[in-house]
Symmetry: C2
Subunit: 334 residues, 2 copies
């Protein structure tokens, strides 16, 4: 098994990425290998001298780096020798079994979609993010790969994300909800209404109907399906709101009860730790012919280590074969 | 001035609604009047005996009540003598200057849209909710009236919500953001991209471009525009997430530091108070020919009192005339 990691991607690259990769070796078999993509000197500086590590990690030099705030389209066109572009090429050419990046999400998703084929009868890949909700991991698909999906795409997201939740998150028959604006069948926009009829017909999906934003993180379902625009708004709103609320609470304490702040900080840390996305090792780009794990830009070594773990489990479980078998081909008359 | 209030609507009806109405009399002139709609005995039971109050509050008996979980479409068809249906009719017939309800939001919005005409060249009314964000009130339009809008509808939401924020919230030249999934112009779904081009051409709007979910509550703009499906998801997600986070923090304290709970509760109360939506008196249904303020189902007397205040300000400022003057008519070739 060979797994390629974009060593230049993310807010803490390359130091935390390389550290996470080294820690991730623990999940690999003896013959397996990691390939770190990036500027050779910058990456090598963070590798331990230990020969047993060096033997299982190769650095593949890439002269360019796509920055976090680069425009994805421009960057992919201009930076052909960047770690992200090279990573997507290695995956497309099946030189590696899986790729991992905490870099520019848009560029990473676009590069993999452009270079890799889609899997079996998949029409459009989707990004599935795993959010540590108040009642366990919630898989939301899509969160930005496909901003104008058709009902059949959402059906395939339900099939693929269910397979992921079962296989990687070990959730038995995950309940699938369709993100909408009311629980009754009549609620929703045209896309949601058409998708509901499609998903209902697939007995392999444990479909519970519509879920609302209010109950999304409260255990209404284990898999939530939505279009990539809505999913991306949900994801970023969640981050912004959680961050803002904690800051507001802290400011209130600092201003009104400064004596409490030292007691309160461990509480907040414990809550954060319990809802630590890095546990889940990043967001798989489901539906490409290969394995691509997209990590959060702020990933630290633990997130990268867990991404390696997930990639290894993904390969070993042969999840893409499971997905291919489950997928419904689009009926000719749709 | 006459303002009708649905006395049967909301989780705390009729007690809190009637109490809020009585408190709201403070904002009315001596010749002005409130009309409480609902079951006469139930409403009267909560009215003080005070003759100066009774003189300015009329009860209009409605035999039926639309429940919070009734299907809006069914309820409007079957409960013709409900407080919501009668309220919408009074508004449509211009028997009252404004109406207020904390009842079934879907039924209230639908009844007013069905019975009242649209204002001037408005094509589709939109619900504008005012959220007490981390940096002041944020007006989001639409949050559910129109789940499949056209770009021109969103342009009109920007125009109407700007006028509301200026006139009622007293925000000078409110910055308007278009809710999207990245700040660059190229980001978004087809609706957002087309809307951006339209809004850019209107010099009366202080348009700042796309805003992302992450920065939505952090002061990026004072008015955010989105389709009603996305807006409704955002609204409910925000409620669910805030609620869940506070509960999680509290549970953590109860389990790990029970000695701290009595210190912590006032902090949480203060944070809630600072982000108290009831300050803003409900969500106006912008674009109907009349004034309809939709309050949160959990509204207490303060929320209703503030809704009366907002309704009075809305009438006095002649906001609908301002909106009519600002609205762009749809070009014939769009």
């Amino acid at each position: 098994m060979r797994i390629a990691i974009d060593a230049m991607g993310g807010d803490h690259a390359p130091a935390q990425i390389v550290r996470g990769a080294v820690e991730g070796l623990a999940f690999l078999g003896t013959g397996d290998e990691l390939v770190l993509l990036g500027r050779e000197d910058a990456v090598a500086a963070h590798l331990p001298a230990d020969a047993s590590v060096r033997r299982r990690i190769t650095i593949q030099h890439c002269a360019e780096t796509i920055e976090m705030d680069d425009s994805p389209v421009e960057a992919l066109r201009q930076k052909k020798d960047s770690s992200i572009v090279v990573m997507a090429r290695l995956a497309a050419e099946k030189q590696v079994d899986a790729v991992i990046s905490a870099g520019n999400t848009g560029a990473c998703a676009a590069a993999c979609q452009l270079k890799m084929r889609t899997l079996g009868s998949v029409q459009r890949p989707g990004i599935a993010v795993i959010i540590p909700s108040f009642s366990g991991p919630l898989t939301i698909c899509d969160v930005g790969a496909n901003v104008a999906p058709k009902p059949h795409h959402l059906l395939q997201y339900a099939q693929m994300a269910s397979a992921y939740a079962e296989t990687i998150l070990k959730i038995h028959r995950p309940r699938v909800g369709l993100l909408s604006i009311g629980s009754e069948d009549a609620k929703g926009n045209p896309l949601v209404k058409q998708t509901r009829e499609l998903i209902k017909q697939d007995a392999s999906i444990h479909f519970i109907g519509n879920v609302e934003g209010r109950e999304l993180f409260a255990g209404a379902c284990e898999v939530a399906i939505c279009d990539g625009f809505v999913g991306n708004v949900v994801l970023k709103l969640t981050e912004g709101l959680a961050d803002g609320l904690f800051k507001t609470i802290k400011r209130e304490i600092v201003s009104e009860r400064p004596d409490l702040i030292k007691d309160f900080e461990p509480v907040i840390k414990a809550v954060w730790a319990r809802h630590d996305y890095s546990e889940y090792g990043g967001a798989p780009l489901l539906g490409v012919d290969g394995i691509c794990i997209i990590c959060h830009g702020s990933s630290d070594h633990r997130a990268i280590k867990n991404a390696v773990r997930v990639a290894v489990e993904y390969v070993k479980a042969d999840l893409n074969r499971i997905i291919t078998e489950r997928l419904t081909e689009e009926p000719v008359n749709v």
